[in-house]
């Protein structure tokens, strides 16, 4: 341990007038910050271990605790921030790559916040969603290029396989292993109740969750963990994960300490072995190779399930998406650079990839120009934070959105961004049984259902304000959007006019 380990990021402020020494903070902190000192009868804290997950604050019955940014600061320097300096110390101590979790926290532009939504006034009536029917249902999958008739003249109504969503939001991929059994149970139950889908991530599907298969998207990633016939048949769709927004261009590494019991069985690898997902799929080096996997999976699932290809938003995303659309995929999922992760190298998470708003607009435009937009549905993720982000994404051209950070927040996550330690005090990103039980799926699934129902109401209100009564009628309707405070180039890529135009 270096001397610099003593520099704490946070300080624990305990109001001694309120503290009743109930020791709840002590029992709830997996980082062992709080402890009771019997001689003085006082609660003490080792704040160097605090990650500011707010568990103790939330459970303290007398509101005696506050976690503050440590007021003890190094000398201010606009170039060398304290965080940057501490990272240098950490690497000088360890010689290792820095790891981080959840999405990019840096102050890079959030284009959603610079886009404003239209509303009807005077000449075109808005619609009251409480009085009029509103359609938020969407179907994901390949759509017919044209109306065709059978030999007897009747309409050919046979469609490629479709996913039906009651609202244009799904829970994106988080593997069993990176998150807990109870977190998966919450997502599975909520998706089923809501009539949407959750995604297994690349850790396989726990046998207990096969019964939620009709609302499960199963993932095939570069590690191919947990992939077998029953698994492929269990889900409603199969997702090939080529990349992830938080860490484009690299694979994954779930440490052996998390490969225990059911996680090992579900991933089909021995206990205690590291689960290393390679950066590339070793059988995919071209669109033609991707096509082979897409059609292998279609063959394996008898052409009954749509195939999703998920990629990270990177520089040439429009060309990449065009290739994916031509590979035979039914749905393209694009993950923006603010997307979350259970662990990623800090430098990659914070510096690689592009904003999802720009990627989405570029891809939708490109696919339209090439006349292949109908071949695929577009799903976007990477920090969709609210119903208005969803509405803006749909208007920019998405068919649906993926949310994961918002979902884990609903489950209790406080974005302390230390998932990689495996000591999640909220029972989400951990496999420790005493911590996993802190997330009761009865509570978790109820909160997820509440969140999505709230978003659905808000989506209807925003649609109604625009005088639109169906989410399908908003898709790609960029006239409903205006930009504020953006450059000509940004507006051009987004394909929207500036406010006032």
């Amino acid at each position: 341990m270096g001397v610099n380990d003593m520099i704490s990021t946070f300080e624990v402020v305990r109001n001694e007038q309120r503290c009743i020494q109930c020791r709840v903070c002590e029992t709830q902190c997996a980082n062992l910050v709080h402890y009771y000192h019997p001689d003085t009868g006082l609660m003490m804290s080792d704040e160097s271990k605090c990650v500011n997950c707010q568990r103790c604050v939330a459970l303290c019955p007398t509101r005696a605790l506050k976690i503050m940014k440590n007021r003890c600061r190094m000398r201010e320097n606009a170039n060398w921030s304290q965080d940057t300096i501490l990272e240098i110390y950490k690497q000088a101590d360890s010689g290792a790559v820095l790891l981080s979790s959840m999405g990019n926290p840096n102050p890079l532009p959030v284009y959603w916040d610079r886009i404003l939504i239209n509303a009807s006034q005077v000449t075109n009536p808005p619609i009251d969603p409480l009085r009029e029917p509103m359609e938020t249902r969407v179907y994901l999958g390949r759509k017919p290029e044209q109306i065709s008739r059978k030999e007897d003249g009747s309409l050919d109504t046979k469609l490629a396989p479709q996913l039906q969503l009651s609202l244009p939001v799904m829970f994106s991929a988080m593997s069993y292993g990176s998150i807990s059994y109870n977190a998966h149970a919450s997502l599975a139950r909520a998706a089923t109740e809501l009539g949407i889908y959750y995604n297994t991530g690349e850790g396989g599907l726990h046998q207990d969750f096969y019964r939620y298969g009709a609302h499960t998207i199963i993932q095939v990633a570069s590690g191919r963990f947990g992939v077998h016939k029953d698994y492929l048949e269990a889900g409603a769709a199969v997702e090939i994960k080529m990349g992830q927004g938080a860490k484009p261009g690299i694979g994954g590494h779930l440490p052996g300490t998390k490969i225990v019991g059911d996680v090992s069985r579900t991933r089909m690898i021995p206990e205690g072995t590291d689960a290393i997902s390679p950066a590339p799929h070793h059988d995919i080096y071209s669109i033609e190779d991707l096509r082979q996997l897409v059609y292998s999976l279609k063959e394996a699932t008898e052409y009954k399930k749509p195939i999703i290809v998920k990629v990270a938003a990177v520089h040439n995303i429009a060309a990449i998406a065009s290739g994916i659309a031509r590979s035979g995929a039914d749905i393209i999922a694009i993950d923006g650079f603010r997307g979350g992760t259970g662990a990623a190298p800090t430098r990659i998470r914070d510096n690689v990839g592009i904003p999802i708003e720009l990627a989405l607009a570029a891809v939708d435009t490109r696919l339209r120009e090439e006349g292949i937009r109908n071949r695929v549905s577009l799903v976007v993720g990477g920090s969709i934070r609210s119903a208005s982000d969803v509405v803006k994404a749909i208007a920019l051209g998405a068919d649906a959105c993926y949310v994961a950070t918002a979902a884990v927040l609903a489950l209790g996550c406080h974005l302390c961004r230390t998932c990689q330690t495996g000591k999640c005090n909220w029972g989400i990103a951990t496999q420790r049984p005493d911590l996993v039980k802190r997330l009761n799926p009865d509570v978790g699934s109820e909160r997820l259902v509440n969140l999505m129902n709230a978003w659905k109401h808000e989506i209807k209100e925003l649609l109604g304000g625009m005088g639109i009564n169906s989410i399908e009628a908003l898709r790609g309707n960029r006239l409903m959007l205006r930009g504020v405070g953006m450059t000509e180039k940004e507006l051009e890529i987004l394909g929207i006019a500036h406010a006032g135009e």
Partner: protein, 149 residues
Amino acid sequence: MQVSKMKRVYVNEQWCLGCHLCEYNCAFANSGKPDMAVALKGKIIYPRIRVEQDGQITYAVNCRHCTDPICVKSCIAGAISKDADGVVRIDQEKCVGCMTCVLVCPYGAVAPNENGVMQKCELCLQNSCGEPACVKGCPNRAIVYEERG
């Protein structure tokens, strides 16, 4: 009085975290004070619900409000009764502190308060909380208040 159909406090062991918040919420609800810090600061608490713990297994225990309560039968002072609403209550004015109820209760749910007078869970129906404080304050919905068959 045979009352079996009633709402009772149940604990789902699977979700009990052993945080002991129920004990403090109980002590506060029965303190008559408006603020928990004022009520419990520097005090030894005498909660009517107790968390039993053995390693990873934790489980909060309180009065079961038995259909045929043995404590009622055993009380030498006639201080314990099962009321029409099914709640087993102790008349603390009548209690002589003989602890017979403590001995006979199969759940260990009766215990003396700081003055040696017996007390047990009476479902917070007559204190400031008005509903079981342990249930209301349980962070993982491990303690529930419901009617079971």
